[in-house]
Symmetry: D2
Subunit: 350 residues, 4 copies
């Protein structure tokens, strides 16, 4: 199997380093280029600072400037900052690059698939429509917001089996979600901040697109409603969420647990390298999941989400649960790489 | 005005020290006795360790054992541990002591008033019924759970003006709520724990009793439902809560804000020493309240609760808000002292 | 007594807000101007964010740009960033402003007094020399680095009574010392950073100037040596230091304690408003001082330093102790205001 | 090679779980027994709570009570609490068990080797003397205090090449060093505690025994002096230390670095399974080591110590450095297992 050459943009940022580490040795992808702003020209091993493991080859890559002319890779992973992504990503796609992005600007555009490979693999068919419509040689595929990504995965079997009406979620999010330097320590020591700019909008809209139905030419958003109240807490990695749902079917905790445990999807069937064997792990402990103990759960660390404290709500058609997903793995680099793997196996990258 | 002699039980615990500090100089109450377990015999100033300010007189009190025979005060404040409170408090009340307690065992007993002085001053009439029924010379009055106490205060004007149907609350609670030694640091550094033993039951039941109507002989619980999901976070003081409510009336944020801002009650009218001028402070900042910045809000530090981010919910008859109350002041010692002040002024302590 | 009009530069920074709070009501000084960068034009009450108490008058000041032409106050407090202070402060002094600064660029210049009022009040005589030499109408007086400030105060009675030879100090410094936004939370949660740019140089050199002797025309540095190893830890306020000293006289812990306890200086004699009654508080507890419990020690909160665990060292002429000082009060705004008070009373501000 | 059966006492404690994880698959040792107090009777997988990886076999062990009669293993690892270890360990050794302990009570007894395998492998000869003198079938070998263990390793090449005279150390220790529940979160959030019971004595005495010379019948302590000032900070794992040394030879940083880098010892020569390839890693970054980034350094995670910021001291024969070692790996379970591996290869376990 011939590997495909890939680049990671903004590779010296926090999510960028997660990519570089996960791609250090990869059976489908050959990481040949990393880009950065202030560190262009340095060896990547010197520019990286998170301590995540890197192969010697990746460590020795020279950081390039983030410019289309500097790139030769076939596939480009983009955890670019919002403002840069806004204009640069379409430019890259137009220039023929296959771009999969964690950035937010293009996620809700109707012809951009917003992917969680276990949830909506069929949305990838949008790519062909996008290319035609935009006259692009390349394409643009998006990964959801770090909170929405994990949430959409959890909601998939719930919606399939119990039909969601409302989802009321309160989050406790890790500081790594704000990138680096991100949250000042003075703001978060002995504190909680009940606000993250633009985050609630994303959590309320993106899952509905991801779980939407693809009718051949466009995505019809799922009908349920989401209310999000987001909070930043003093954890490094792992977004914790308390979730209250209203469903059309009766919410029977044992049945819900079973739906979660039994959930498998195309990435598992294809045994994609970054696909966890069990996407949703159910904990029966009364005090789990916890960010420190559970964020690296799963056969591919950080790619499984963990749910616990599954209980009935205030009536028979509502329920409650506590939920954790790793924000820079399942919520960013990991899901994006999984999307790329799925596209690779479906022949969409050649 | 003659001051009444008071005792603080378990005075060397965390809430106990809060009492001792707030009672160090008090116009109605003269703190003459403090009790403790392992520190009996020591000077109180040596046994206390939180650094809260104490008067020299209080500092020099000798710690007594927690036994009825050791006590001579008229009024007894009891932040005793649950198991001790269970049996000791009725014994004290029977022996003629007037007892106001933060402990949980007797809160939900039908003839025990569960007090937030701004919310249900009329429930104090239960005291007379209790004494008759139980043939007690003293009495037992209770303060709610530290989370329920602040919440009930917030819900009062909301219920009065908009008629609550459902309250869905997700909490982020400070470690001081677990007392001392309480939460091990290994459990909470870089972590959130989505579980506090028995806490959710209390938060779901107590506010309904507090906001219940007193029909002359018994309290009829308020009809709304509460769902609580509780979490321990790495803050020292101040419980933060994200709240989603469903109301019978239309939830108009401006009207809700006004109802909060305008709320005044009997403690304010009587200008009780521990009554904050404004019980509910509304913040219009997009990122407030925050535990570190707002826990000592109010003209009496820690006695005002703070609410912000008041927004509409998923339909016209629902809303959302972020809420903070100081768990050891408004949620314990402060509310109890305020209850005592109200009883003093109503002649119920003589 | 006529009050003197004062301005605070960079008043929206962390130390700037400390000034504004401490000057909100002051018997000698009338705060009439605050300056800021991005917030120029706003009401100060809106630009401030630390939650420190402010008078209504100060809250209503309009933030001015940080430019000489915008200022009319007689005395200027300057917690400017290093690079701005470098050129702006001499310009202000030349233009006739009396400037007292927390910034570092001019601290070690031979004709700039580096003041801790309890330690070297006689150094203020340099001001007259400075004015003559530089042909300035105003002047420039400096406050030491936040770590050096507290340390110099502690070392004063030690050097006077026991003659210091060497001071080996290892610090554990609060994140507020880095200003705002300062230390990223990702760097400090579950971590210690053994490095603060340029800090060790300052801690090693400044105390020697402060404790130097003033021979009429210049300061001769004190002869002892200082070794500093500095660390950033996850505390908000209060720098903790472990100190090992070598002395010419025998180090007798009881005598050292007595020297600390008995230490009083000119600010105490003059009863300056910001002077703590006891500059150095000695704790006899085995586990004190602690940042959380002791940073606000003293009759003027944060102006007293606290020392504990005073023990002999590896021989008779060495000793050890643990030391705490509040880095933004005693280490910045508080000491600077105290210097201004001393100058006011000595007639140096008129 | 026949594996030796081993037991871990107090296996449900924090260090105990570290043992169980490191012994889950081991080429020399077969973990057949785990003991615990309150969890006796449970499956070990249920009693363990740190989330460290465990083999299925270990997970399925039934927890036994901590009693000699319950044990059948040849070799016993003992991270028992001090008071239990005091009497139980000699009893076990007398009963024929080979005991290697992390507990403190017997460390300084003259015939008990206090082992860091890279430092003093020759001290193991004491075992034979011990057995004769005490008429024991088994034996007792000790691992140093968690801070002293790493420090002794670092000092070995320094003492060999530069002859130590004095070591002045200030520590910043992780909360895991206090076991579980250990340090209350209320004590450590936004705080540093400058005290750990009995710790300074251990850090001052144990390295001198470990680096002592073995003259055939007894250990003569090394002649240098140690001053220790210890502090607890809000980190989970990894003790950081700032170290000032005085040496008889000139302290030349480049030579010191080389001595550290080149240091190898018997465990490396024998390629023991738990021996890191490079025991002492030198960092040249200006801000390293840091607990979060460096605690798992080395080819066997946590078994290498990391030193950085190596600089001259106040004269030519003194120096400074910042040092990190993993307190529950190199400072406890890891060093003990390494000692056992060395004894196994020397035939001392058969």
């Amino acid at each position: 199997m011939k590997r495909i050459s890939v680049a990671v943009l903004a590779a010296t940022g926090m999510v960028g380093q997660r990519y570089a580490s996960m791609l250090s040795t990869h059976p489908y992808f050959d990481l040949i280029e990393v880009t950065g702003q202030s560190s262009a020209g340095k060896r990547y091993g010197e520019a990286a600072w998170t301590g995540l493991p890197l192969s010697d080859k990746v460590r020795n890559l020279k950081v390039k400037p983030t410019e289309p002319s500097a790139l030769s890779a076939n596939l480009v992973f983009s955890p670019l900052p919002t403002d840069v992504a806004q204009t640069l990503e379409p430019k890259l796609a137009k220039a023929g690059f296959k771009v999969i992005t964690d950035a937010s600007p293009h996620r809700m555009e109707p012809d951009v698939p917003l992917m969680i490979p276990e949830v909506n693999p069929e949305h990838l068919a949008l790519v062909e429509l996008q290319r035609k419509k935009r006259h692009w040689d390349g394409f643009l595929v998006a990964t959801p917001n770090c909170t929405a990504a994990g949430l959409a995965l959890l909601l998939k079997p719930l919606h399939d089996s119990f039909r969601l009406k409302r989802v009321i979620v309160s989050t406790m999010q890790a500081v790594s979600g704000a990138g680096y330097p991100g949250v000042p320590s003075l703001d978060i020591i002995d504190n909680v901040i009940p606000y993250i700019k633009d985050e609630e909008d994303k959590v309320e809209s993106e899952p509905r697109k991801i779980l939407g139905s693809f009718a051949g030419s466009r995505i019809d958003s799922a009908k349920f409603q989401v209310s999000a109240m987001v909070h930043r807490v003093a954890t490094t990695d792992g977004h914790l969420e308390s979730i209250y749902v209203e469903t059309e079917e009766r919410f029977v905790p044992e049945k819900v647990e079973k739906a979660f445990r039994d959930f498998r999807a195309e990435p598992q069937k294809l045994k994609l390298p970054t696909a966890p064997k069990q996407p949703i792990i159910v904990s029966s402990a009364p005090d789990r999941p916890q960010p420190k103990l559970d964020r690296n759960a799963g056969s591919v660390p950080g790619m499984s989400v963990v749910v616990g404290r599954i209980r009935k709500g205030l009536d028979d058609r509502s329920g409650r649960m506590t939920f954790l997903s790793h924000n820079t793995v399942r919520g960013a680099a990991g899901s994006t790489i999984l999307t790329a793997e799925l596209m690779f196996r479906k022949g969409l990258l050649s």
